[in-house]
Every structure is written in structure tokens, then in C-alpha cells.
């Protein structure tokens, strides 16, 4: 397990000292995180790293996971899609099922936290059991900029009972009666997914997957999900393939709470079947070193999502100083300053255009990549994320805009 003091080498000792100062103000509070999966996906990834680091700072942070069956995760996936504006058929019975599963979990779980930190819509109805002076915070990690209104109304009937809500980008905020805060997610620079790797490790991963490091490599790392537009990525690659002789890597896995992942993977494989330079790689959850190596060997990294919560894969690529072309959706414009730390795109054609530019001009691509790394270092590392959460928890116990100790 990484020690919190080890991050001083990356962000400087002063920022670590700041975290201890904040943590001191929470020493008698218990923070109970609750989400729906312990493995796979950005939320589980962040909590896996963050909870132990908070403990080292002296904050009693803990993490529980609600239980659900295939039917429950089928319903929550439909809700996830509807919140992203996709037309899906969700019945009243589905919504009642979500509620019942939440209530069953509430019966079996201990609500021991002073701060109940509930992540995403799956466990949202636990708030029905709110009592006493506990603070309930709903942490929404997904893009709510264009949700289907009936599903949003369903969520609002629960959100109104929370003390506040937290979103990853300003555009995700909703018309709510409770206070709303913005906290961007983060990556961990010392995790297996982001730490420096020896050249031999990168070479061996390339060899294992049959990737030729002598030719340009375009990569998208993301779950196999239609909202990540893997077919659009293949179409953009096909537009530049002939000129640059490049390869495409589509790598990712699936979260336990996403029943569609394997189906989408099979679809992508079949579309890519006629081109040996397209590498479609389905990773099991513990493949962080491989993902890290694939990102590091890439000439350009894509994130051509149609919808995106925040798009942590973008921050991962930027941290590795890779030039990035990414859709201007969700939290991506917070990470990519167009033509400075990457390129923002709106179409397959635009993606292909920026790919040509970066593949033609390696020096320019290098500068863009280095700018991106600086931007991530200042804004999207786990230490900043912990700082924001600690500030949030402290603020729950104060009324004013200025809190002076």
C-alpha cells in the first residue's frame, strides 16, 4: 500500500502538510462511503486508493458496497443510460425494484458513519433511512447535462433528502433544492496504472499483444460501452490508416455492475475482424500494468466518448505526456485545453483531422503532451481530490461561506 507521504515526491511536501491540517479537523468523524461495486470502473478505482490514504491522514474513512443481482444491475444500467439521454424503456416496476433492493441493503447494513457518502444512483434510495444528525452526501460521478426528465425526477425525489450533492463538472449540476458542489475526480500517479514503467515492461506488453512499436499506435482505453463510441474510433482510424500505416488499440474491461460490456466487446471484435492492425483487448480488472504500458507506447490517445462522466482515461494519458484527441463532452473540456493540452473534437471527421496533424508533427505532439502532463499535475491528482473531499466534509458542519479555524 502506498504511503501518503510518498506523494510529496510528486506534488511537494507543502501539499501533503496541507492535507494533514485539514484531516485534523475531522479526527472525530467517521466517513462511510457506499457504492455498488468494489471492482471495475472509475468509482471503485478511486475509492480503492483514496480510503486507505485518508486513514493514513487520520480520517476514519470506510467503504461498503451494496449487494445486487443481475436484474438490479440491469435496471441501474438502464437508469445510467437514461441519465445520459439515451431512450430506454424503464417501467415503474423497475424503479420500485431499485428501491426494494436499496431497502433490503439498508436492513442488512450498518449505517455507522457521521457522513454518509453515497456514490451514484444505484444506492441513492438508502437515504430513505436517514435519521438523527448524520450528514448525507450524494456524490454523482456521471454526466447529468441532458438526462431523460422522468428518470431525473425519480432521482430528485431522493436527492432532495440529502444534505448536499457533488458533481464532477459545472454542466452536470441540476435544478436542485439542496446545495451543490463541484469536485473533479482524479488519478493516482503512484498506482500501477500510472506509475513510471521500465522500457522492458512496455516492450513485453507490446510483444504479448502483437503490437509493432516501430509504427504509429493510436489507442483508446475505455470500458466496452456504446457511449465510449468504439465503432466511431475504428471509423476515425480507418480514415488515417492508409496514409500513416498505423495500428489501433481498443483496450478495456467491464465493471461488475455493467451487464452490457461483453456484448459490446463482441460487436467491436466483429467490426474489426478484417484488419489485423486493430487490437481489441478485453482486460480483466487487475490489468493495470498492461493498461499503463499500452498508454505509454501510444503515439496518440483517443477518448471519443459520446457521453462521459469525467473521462479519467484522458487524465491518465495526459499524465503520461501522451497527446490526446478527445470529445468535448462531460468533464473532458476541463482536462483538455484545446490546442494547448490536447484537441477537442465533435465528430469522426474532426478526430481523423487531429490524428493526421499529430501523426505528421511529432515535435508538436510532444509539446502538447507535456502541457497536458503539467495540467494534470496541478489539477487532477489524487492529493487534490482528497483535499477537496476533506474540505467538503468540514463544510458540512458550518453555515458560513468563510470558515476560520
Amino acid at each position: 500500500m502506498q504511503r501518503i507521504d510518498g506523494y510529496a515526491a510528486v506534488v511537494g511536501q507543502a501539499k501533503i502538510d496541507d492535507l494533514y491540517l485539514l484531516a485534523e479537523k475531522l479526527e472525530d468523524r467517521v466517513i462511510q462511503n457506499i457504492n455498488s461495486t468494489s471492482v471495475g470502473g472509475g468509482v471503485a478505482e478511486i475509492l480503492t486508493r483514496m480510503v486507505p490514504l485518508m486513514k493514513q491522514l487520520g480520517v476514519d474513512a470506510r467503504w461498503d458496497v451494496i449487494k445486487g443481482n443481475e436484474k438490479f444491475f440491469g435496471v441501474t444500467k438502464k437508469i445510467h443510460n437514461a441519465l445520459h439521454g439515451v431512450d430506454v424503456d424503464i417501467s415503474g416496476e423497475d424503479l420500485e425494484y431499485l428501491r426494494q433492493v436499496n431497502l433490503q441493503n439498508a436492513e442488512e447494513m450498518q449505517f455507522y458513519g457521521d457522513v454518509m457518502f453515497i456514490h451514484d444512483p444505484q444506492p441513492i434510495a438508502l437515504v430513505e433511512k436517514k435519521s438523527g444528525d448524520k450528514k448525507w452526501v450524494w456524490r454523482c460521478h456521471i454526466d447529468l447535462s441532458g438526462p431523460k426528465s422522468d428518470i431525473m425526477d425519480f432521482l430528485k425525489s431522493y436527492i432532495k433528502n440529502y444534505d448536499c450533492a457533488v458533481f464532477s463538472a459545472p454542466a452536470f449540476s441540476a435544478d436542485l433544492s439542496i446545495p451543490q458542489f463541484m469536485i473533479s475526480p482524479s488519478i493516482d500517479p503512484l498506482s500501477d496504472k500510472n506509475k513510471e514503467l521500465p522500457k522492458e515492461t512496455v516492450d513485453s506488453v507490446a510483444e504479448r499483444f502483437g503490437i509493432d512499436k516501430e509504427r504509429p499506435i493510436i489507442t483508446q482505453v475505455s470500458r466496452f460501452d456504446r457511449l465510449k463510441d468504439p465503432i466511431g474510433v475504428i471509423n476515425a482510424y480507418r480514415k488515417v490508416k492508409r496514409q500513416f500505416g498505423c495500428q489501433l488499440v481498443l483496450a478495456g474491461g467491464s465493471a461488475l455492475d455493467d451487464p452490457e460490456g461483453f456484448k459490446v466487446y463482441e460487436e467491436v471484435k466483429s467490426v474489426a475482424a478484417d484488419d489485423p492492425d486493430i487490437h481489441v483487448i478485453f482486460h480483466p480488472p487487475a490489468s493495470d500494468i498492461e493498461i499503463n504500458a499500452l498508454q505509454r507506447m501510444s503515439t496518440v490517445v483517443l477518448q471519443k466518448s459520446l457521453k462521459e462522466g469525467f473521462g479519467l482515461a484522458v487524465a491518465e494519458a495526459l499524465w503520461k505526456a501522451r497527446p490526446v484527441v478527445a470529445s468535448a463532452v462531460g468533464g473532458i473540456p476541463l482536462q483538455v485545453v484545446h490546442e494547448y493540452s490536447g484537441f477537442l473534437t465533435y465528430s469522426v471527421e474532426g478526430t481523423a483531422h487531429y490524428l493526421r496533424m499529430l501523426l505528421n508533427e511529432p515535435e508538436y505532439a510532444r509539446t502538447i503532451g507535456l502541457n497536458g502532463r503539467k495540467h494534470v499535475k496541478n489539477n487532477f491528482l489524487i492529493t487534490r481530490h482528497i483535499r477537496d473531499y476533506l474540505a467538503l466534509f468540514i463544510s458540512l458542519y458550518h453555515e458560513d461561506d468563510i470558515i476560520q479555524f
Partner: protein
């Protein structure tokens, strides 16, 4: 202006960004928003870039200017917002009045008002500030220089920007303390620094150089 005496106690601060749920699609709606948001929102949109981009990057000096220039593509209006020198204002209400004046003049000229693309609206935010004492204390200029080299940029930011513009202490805490210990000239030089066009690490270096000069005397 607050005159400080005794040793200087260094504080640091943390911002928590609050989303106000107020959006603007065009300059008219931006004006409406500017009139109704709390001053903490004006403060946030004109200051958060200082800590967020503490290296040199092509960011304009406030969120309003960025949105007007880069999203609405109204470069002339954006430039007017970018050129407002916050250092010349006493507090955030005065800054708000200046922005309102610019927008009202612009709109009164009958310029065509265009909406931004969907999804790229201006979202008004504000911030909650948490102020905490650090273990660092300085009793004289020499100790002050030593601490300046160690403290986080958030502490420098707090004493130089937040104390004056959000806590309305009339001048930066550093200038107030120097004045309190009889270093009037140093206080004056600190107050005249152009602090909105420099990175925080650049400001740290400048402060160290300046205070060191007086510490030797």
C-alpha cells in the same frame, strides 16, 4: 487598513466550489447573473485561475473573459473583461460594478446577441473558504523569508489575495504586517506588485527577493 503587530502567523486556505445553478447563454443572461449572484461568485470567477494554473498557460485572467472570447467568440467584449485589472479595486462589489458597466454599455449599442452552443453555457459558481493556521510563525524579516520558502502556494495566495479581496482587510496581510513592524517602504513595494499577471511560484520568488533585500538592512 488593518495594522498588525506581534509575530506573523501564517495561515493557509482551501476552496470548495459551490455550483449556484445559474446559467447564461449570452451577454444579456450573463448580465442578469452578474447582478444577482453573491460576491463570493464574482470573487471565484476572477481568482480561481490563480491557483489552478500556477504555471504559465494560455488562460485569460477571468472566467467571464474566457467564456466571452472562446465560447461566444465575442473577442472584443472578452478583451474588455480580460483587461479589468482586479488589483486596482478595493473589493469585489466594485469589480462587479465594473463588469456590469461594461456589459450594459455593450448591450446598449444594439449589438447582435448570440447564444452559445448548447452545453457550453456559463455556469455561475462560488466558493466556500476554509482558513487554517499553519505551524509557521515569523518574528522578523529573516524568519519571514525562511518561511516564505517553505509554505504552500495556497498560503501565499491567502495572505496576498484572499485577505484583501474577500476578507476586506484593505491590503494584503503581508503589507499590513510590514507596516505594523515599521517597514513602511517594504509594505509599499509589496502593495505595488503586479500580482494578477504572475504565477504563484513566481510571486513567491519575487517576495523572497524583496523581503531579503530589507532583511539585510
Amino acid at each position: 487598513m488593518t495594522k498588525m503587530s506581534g509575530p506573523f502567523k501564517f495561515y493557509t486556505h482551501f476552496h470548495l466550489v459551490r455550483l449556484l445553478g445559474i446559467r447564461a447563454r449570452n451577454p444579456v443572461e450573463l448580465l442578469e447573473g452578474l447582478k444577482k449572484v453573491p460576491t463570493s461568485s464574482i470573487y471565484y470567477h476572477t481568482h480561481h485561475f490563480l491557483e489552478k494554473h500556477h504555471y504559465l498557460s494560455p488562460e485569460p485572467p477571468n472566467d467571464f473573459a474566457y467564456w466571452l472570447s472562446n465560447i461566444l467568440n465575442q473577442k472584443d467584449l472578452g478583451e474588455l473583461f480580460a483587461s479589468v485589472d482586479i488589483a486596482n479595486f478595493r473589493d469585489m462589489e466594485d469589480v462587479r460594478s465594473e463588469f456590469i458597466k461594461i456589459l450594459e454599455e455593450y448591450i446598449s449599442k444594439g449589438r447582435r446577441i448570440v447564444n452559445c452552443p448548447e452545453g457550453q453555457e456559463f455556469h455561475f459558481s462560488s466558493c466556500i473558504t476554509i482558513i487554517l493556521p499553519t505551524p509557521y510563525v515569523a518574528s522578523d524579516l529573516r524568519e519571514f523569508v525562511e518561511v516564505l520558502d517553505k509554505i504552500s502556494i495556497h498560503s501565499i495566495y491567502f495572505h496576498m489575495f484572499e485577505a484583501k479581496m474577500r476578507l476586506r482587510r484593505g491590503a494584503s496581510d503581508f503589507a499590513n504586517w510590514f507596516r505594523g513592524i515599521g517597514e513602511e517602504k517594504l509594505a509599499e513595494e509589496i502593495s505595488e506588485l503586479s500580482i494578477y499577471t504572475i504565477t504563484l511560484n513566481g510571486l513567491r520568488k519575487k517576495l523572497i527577493k524583496l523581503v531579503s533585500k530589507y532583511a539585510k538592512n
